[in-house]
């Protein structure tokens, strides 16, 4: 008997069932199919500018910085300003995301390169598929558009999110992703990012920039 059979056997015996119970199966299938929501905090249940304001406030509370621009054409300027204001090298790495393609970087001193990060890039630019107002959280998905390494290796992360993609709660994010990827499917990695990397492992002192980015700058577009 494999370990798998032994374990499932023990679990079934402990629960007093033999795995053939049709009623139990139906319950499990229903929950996996319907994915019922439980208690959702009222906090995120606001809309329009109030929702953007909540997202912004929550993100700032966890030491991210946030700016809002009206059009994606302003992204290069927003990134250049941030790097300059923090005395950071004017170099940035980007994936293949169409939302970040064909931008006028020439009007800025910023040098861009493309592809996943190997650890030598000082700054990365990603496009978050959504934001969650409940906690100021960004949602980033893996793939050529926004390689996951760009979210973690560079010291500075600049993340762009469309105002209309900022939702109120986590449950809305899953609904959105399931619609795009199909029921029961997710991309290889979904990162929920809330603020820059931190650790309090040394005498409970909160420090930023443990292993992930030390700085997170969020650009809300629209």
């Amino acid at each position: 008997m494999s370990d798998r059979d032994i374990i499932l056997g023990k679990v079934r015996r402990a629960l007093g069932t033999d795995g053939g119970d049709v009623g139990r199966r139906a319950i499990v299938i229903a929950r996996l199919e319907n994915a019922p929501r439980s208690v959702i905090p009222a906090r995120g249940q606001v809309s329009g500018n109030e929702r953007i304001a909540l997202f912004t406030e929550m993100a700032k509370r966890v030491s991210a910085s946030v700016v809002r621009i009206t059009d994606r054409a302003e992204i290069p300027r927003a990134a250049a300003n941030y790097l300059r204001d923090h005395n950071l090298p004017a170099r940035i790495r980007i994936g293949d995301d169409p939302f970040l393609a064909d931008l006028l970087w020439e009007v800025t001193p910023v040098e861009q390169s493309h592809g996943p990060s190997d650890g030598s890039d000082p700054a990365g630019l990603s496009h978050a598929v959504a934001g969650v107002a409940e906690t100021g959280t960004l949602v980033l998905t893996s793939g050529n558009d926004n390689p996951t390494t760009l979210n973690f290796l560079p010291e500075t992360q600049i993340a762009v999110v469309r105002a209309e993609d900022i939702v109120g709660d986590y449950e809305s994010v899953w609904a959105m992703l399931q619609e795009e990827y199909g029921r029961g499917n997710l991309p290889r990695t979904v990162n929920l990012v809330t603020g820059p990397s931190r650790s309090a492992d040394i005498e409970q002192t909160l420090l930023l920039g443990a292993h992930g980015p030390k700085r997170l700058h969020i650009v809300v577009v629209g």
Binding site: R12, R31, V190, D201, G209
Partner: protein, 473 residues
């Protein structure tokens, strides 16, 4: 892992006298307790979310076999492999054989209490593979060859001076005159050293806070981002998790997430909550080529259906130990095995036997703070009492306890004798106190009176005063 739980009393005495430890433990109150209280107060729905989280886990446990099967199907559909391990030994061997097959020399690790439970690090080292802890706290204690003393803050028992000393002793390639007096410098040094290790590792091993049946996804929760670098950079990602981590859907995970970080560190959510499904796909420029999940039983299926089933709801937040007056006084190492604090008192006897871990459920006053703050509403004091009953039934309680209870039982079964004996005892003790109101020493009670005075009775028993009061009405 070897246990020193039978020496708990001795461990506790050493811990109480350890000044550096006491200084470090002082940080626990502000670091964890106040922050949790603030976070809970700031979320009006906190209590109803606790109820919902408990209900989700109870539902899952009642259908665990079916959710395990559903989870396994989804992982396979995403191109991952699932390995079931009934014992710690089985799990170790599975992980080793994966590492050997790919010719791994080093393996970076995210923080995993399960890996601790099965003694993975020592086993890998014995077999020529170097495990490298990447969580800052775990890295520090790995340098010091210590075990974690807390389930989410493994180095909470250390002061920054101790950390500096360890770094200087281990990072010998760096200049001796460098400044390491502040935590920031220590962090920067660890970041640089570990960054090299992340990039060079052949295998990355993480735990999982949740295994999602709906999509075949493993979820990790970190603040540092170390778990993410561990799992996306190497060629192979191995997840090791125990079977009660299975959670039905992403919405269920979202709900439980809301009480996890708030209960653990007082954050609304941790910095990085990462959902991983299978190995890299055709359009992924990064990520592991192989994705393995090792699902460990190691005694948990035995807890199912028993009076300890509720402990399987635990999401490893650490709130119970943060609030426990015993843990706050002696720290985690005194408990002597993988899980300290109240949850340790309930789990450890299950893993290493009540004969070895008996001291742990007895190291409690049942004040109930643990249960009050547990996000999953686990009745911890109740379960500690179950263990005490089992200990008593198996005649494992110390002789003094058994005889003491025996003597008390003799009198309690004879009410008139009981009343007479207590009347005499109260008068004797009252006289002995000479009107001072307290007794500095008592025969047979030196365990108490060595550290505090015993309040002196005023001369009458409760029953005597009651009768008097009733008579004068």
């Amino acid at each position: 892992m070897e246990t020193t739980s039978p020496q708990f009393k001795q461990n506790a005495r050493v811990a109480l006298a350890d000044e550096q430890l006491q200084k470090a433990l002082g940080n626990v109150r502000v670091g964890f307790i106040e922050k949790r209280a603030k976070a809970a107060a700031a979320l009006p729905e906190f209590e109803s979310i606790r109820d919902a989280a408990r209900d989700i886990k109870n539902h899952t446990l009642a259908h665990l076999d079916l959710y395990l099967e559903a989870y396994e199907d989804r992982v396979r559909a995403a191109g991952g492999e699932v390995h079931f391990a009934e014992t710690a030994d089985s799990a170790r061997q599975i992980i080793l054989s994966i590492c050997q097959r790919v010719g791994a020399r080093t393996a970076t690790k995210g923080k995993s209490m399960i890996a601790e439970e099965i003694g993975l690090n020592d086993y890998l080292e014995e077999n020529g593979i170097k495990p490298i802890e990447t969580d800052l706290g775990e890295y520090i204690i790995q340098l010091r060859q210590e075990a974690p003393s807390h389930i989410i803050a493994p180095a909470v028992h250390l002061t920054k001076d101790q950390v500096e000393k360890s770094f200087r002793e281990s990072h010998t390639a760096l200049p001796e005159d460098r400044d390491l007096s502040e935590p920031t410098e220590l962090l920067l040094e660890a970041r640089a050293i570990l960054r090299e290790q992340f990039l060079a590792a052949d295998v990355g091993i993480t735990g999982a806070n949740f295994l999602v049946a709906e999509t075949g996804t493993s979820v990790i929760v970190t603040n540092e981002g170390n778990g993410d670098l561990t799992q996306i950079l190497p060629r192979v990602h191995i997840v090791i998790a125990s079977l009660e981590k299975i959670t039905p859907t992403l919405n269920d995970v979202s709900e439980i997430m809301r009480v996890l970080s708030r209960s653990a560190t007082g954050q609304d959510i941790s910095v990085y909550t990462t959902f991983s499904t299978g190995p890299r796909r055709p359009d992924d420029p990064d990520g592991p080529e192989e994705y393995h999940v090792v699902i460990l039983d190691n005694g948990r299926s035995e807890m199912l259906g028993s009076e300890f089933q509720d402990a399987l709801r635990c999401i490893r937040c650490g709130a119970c130990m943060n609030h426990c007056p015993v843990y706050q006084s002696v720290g985690g190492h005194a408990y002597g095995w993988v899980y300290p604090g109240p949850i340790g008192a309930v789990l450890d006897p299950n893993f290493i036997g009540i004969d070895k871990a008996g001291n742990l459920p007895n190291a409690s006053t049942f004040c109930g703070r643990c249960e009050a703050v547990c996000p999953m509403r686990i009745p911890l004091p109740n379960m500690m009492r179950h263990w005490r009953e089992k200990e008593f039934e198996r005649h494992l309680s110390p002789v003094a306890v058994r005889s003491g209870v025996g003597v008390w039982a003799f009198f309690a079964k004879r009410p008139r004798l009981y009343q007479w004996a207590t009347r005499v005892a109260m008068r004797v003790l009252a006289n002995r106190a000479f009107g001072r109101g307290r007794l500095k020493s008592l025969p047979f009670a030196s365990g108490w009176t060595r550290y505090r005075d015993f309040p002196a009775p005023e001369g009458q028993t409760f029953q005597q005063r009651w009768r008097q009061q009733q008579a004068s009405k």
